[in-house]
Amino acid sequence: MSLPVEAESQSAAYYVSSRRLPRLQELSLIGIIVLLGAALSYFGWRYAMPGHPNLFLNPDNLVDGIATPMSVYAIMAVGATCVIIAGGIDISVGSIFALSGLASAAVLQQMPVDASAWLVIPVAILIPMIVGSLCGLFNGALVVILRIHPFIVTLGTMVIFRGIGNVSVREKILPDSRHQLPAVFSHFMRAQIAGQRLMPMLVMLACVLAGAIYLHLSVAGRKNYAVGGNEEAARFSGIRTGRVKLLVYTISGLTAGVAGMVSLGRFSSMSTNTATGYELMVIAGAVVGGASLLGGRGTALGALLGTLVIAIIGNGIYTLQLPEENRSIIVGAAILVAAALDSRLTARLRGSRGGN
């Protein structure tokens, strides 16, 4: 009987120490964001054309150039963080994103262009969330039942989900040439608030908030950390690890579905190859945000901040007027530098606090 008690205390101790570290990491990420912002604001001022505002520090750029494009990555990064905390990985999110958006577009295009908002918006929101969740549940079930490494499972489903989209959509783009999407959904997703289209950013913030509540304020979130910190100890302490895994993959699928919904509303179109390769940026956002690929560590706020760092660097290429062909090198190198800097800053902060 002593083993479960010991395991439980071990798991709880891990949870407590793992909560302290992310706060330090988030603080160091905020420092990096402020430094990047200050540097880019200077260059944005220097390189602005006469009579034009600062290229970086203006509301249009901060919302349209950074917050809106990053929203789909950050939403998925919250789900990816939950999976990574549980010691897993999900590389099928780009395909789930596309499949959810295609499913939603396929239903919406059957409605009249002037269909009522009361009918269109619930359908446009619920369908991608349901499809995304089902895809995630399928991933989770395969991981739990087959006991294959999640990388392999989600590599397989990444191709399967993309293939289902390709087979189901004859013209490969929805709405197809004979249909249009109801106008009310794109009006909703592109609604102007204070002169800016803030809806993708608001959905992103809502997802981060929901992710933070789940991870930090719920019993399920605590189990999530425990499974990733030490799966065996978690199992001995009575946690049904299979259920936890099912839940985290479902959450990851759900967030990919939400991201698909945001993208469909923003562009009023979804093609079968949409979001190809997005999974790498999503995982990069989560890892830069402090999620440990070994499991047991990460936060929803960290996912947001990590994605924001990458988005600012990507936007900085426009601000600094650098050639586009250098983008991959710059973003890749910057991710490494940001992760290294973050790790150093966290270590220093931890040292200065004398904590774990």
Binding site: L27, I30, G31, V34, L35, G37, A38, S41, Y42, G44, W45, A48, M49, P50, G51, H52, P53, N54, L55, L57, N58, D60, N61, D64, G65, P69, V72, N166, E171, K172, I173, P175, S186, R190, S263, R266, F267, S268, S269, M270, S271, T272, N273, T274, T276, G277, N315, Y318, Q321, P323, E324, E325, R327, S328, R348, L349, S352, R353
Partner: protein, 335 residues
């Protein structure tokens, strides 16, 4: 240490605020000064890695230089083509160009429907937009310059039928199955095929082979299809993707007839080996050159083109004129 860290963040925030104030001051000063006119033209093609768009970039740069000298303006060509095909990256690039102060943008749409809103937003902010190569139908763009995709498909099939003496079985190499311009070309091939009753599409109308638009993937698709279906006697390639790779075609000489769109330098060698009968060349250089001309004409002279679809006819390239065409490419890309 903790206090020092917080103070550091505070100083950085203060610095940012000071920069905002100073940037506002600078903008006001430059407004008053009335600097010389500069016209920024943005180019957003589908991807950096495709040589046809490198030719378009070269054309745009040349047009910028020529028109700067001719009109006495400072025309700057700002190329913001994404590394890989991604409509969201193209939308971001269009937004960045608008914020930067571009007065005209030429874009080749990876997904015309997805780019409709970003194009409309740019036009609403006073930016003139031209689509080249791949259109965004229904958007507020001024005009489209490029190939008529349906007609392109018809021409490919017409030339292939001639090469096959009007009989045999064909396969179609389709590229990215999500690209609307390629779907238009496939429709053109099938439309013309109806006029040649002794030529059949493989598997009773299921003879399109899609693939990632990379030379090795395209070559793999052709090789696998030909091995599995040796009855194929003709290939209608609506894009020349496999021909960028060496030894990409699994047949020798003219055992299988092939007509392909595009005639870039690596593709010309297949004409000489006889493995490809004819290449139908798109004037990729003019995608950039003509687009910049159209934009500047509108911005400087307020002159719109007569039609909102300007069609560039395809140039047939065979073994006979392959060298001449190769020289053209040297001139375009050597600049």
């Amino acid at each position: 240490m903790k206090r020092g860290w917080i103070a550091g963040i505070g100083v950085a925030c203060l610095g940012t605020l000071l920069l905002v104030v100073s940037s506002c001051k600078k903008a006001a000063e430059t407004n008053a000064g009335g600097a010389a006119e500069k016209i920024i033209i943005g180019i957003v093609a589908k991807s950096q890695s495709n040589a046809v768009f490198q030719a378009a970039h070269a054309g745009a740069r040349d047009a910028g230089k020529e028109l700067s000298a001719k009109l006495g303006k400072d025309i700057e060509i700002d190329i913001k083509t994404p590394t890989d095909e991604d409509p969201q990256a193209q939308a971001d690039a269009i937004g960045a160009l608008v914020r930067e102060g571009a007065r005209g943008i030429a874009v080749s749409c990876s997904n015309g429907a997805a780019l409709k809103q970003p194009i409309d937003d740019a036009v609403d902010k006073g930016v003139v937009v031209v689509c080249f190569d791949s259109d965004s139908k229904g958007s507020k763009r001024m005009c489209y310059y490029g190939t008529d995709d349906r007609q392109c498909g018809i021409n490919v099939m017409l030339q292939l039928a001639k090469a096959m003496n009007d009989e045999g079985t064909i396969a179609i190499l389709g590229g990215n199955q999500s690209a609307p311009n390629l779907q238009g070309r496939i429709a053109g091939v099938r439309e013309e095929l109806k006029n040649h009753p002794k030529i059949k599409e493989l598997k009773d109308g299921q003879g399109v082979f899609y693939h990632e638009e990379k030379p090795e993937k395209a070559a793999e698709a052709v090789g696998n299809a030909q091995n599995a279906n040796p009855q194929i006697t003709g290939w209608a390639m609506i894009g020349g993707w496999p021909l960028f790779a060496a030894d990409a075609l699994p047949w020798k000489g003219d055992a299988v007839k092939c007509v392909s769109v595009d005639a870039l330098p690596p593709e010309l060698t297949y004409l000489k080996s006889g493995q490809v009968e004819m290449l139908l060349a798109q004037d990729c250089y003019s995608w950039g050159h003509k687009s910049v001309e159209l934009l500047i004409d509108k911005i400087v002279n307020n002159k719109s083109p007569e039609s909102d679809r300007i069609i560039d006819p395809l140039t047939p390239v065979t073994a006979a004129n392959a060298d001449e065409w190769a020289q053209k490419w040297k001139n375009w890309l050597g600049k």
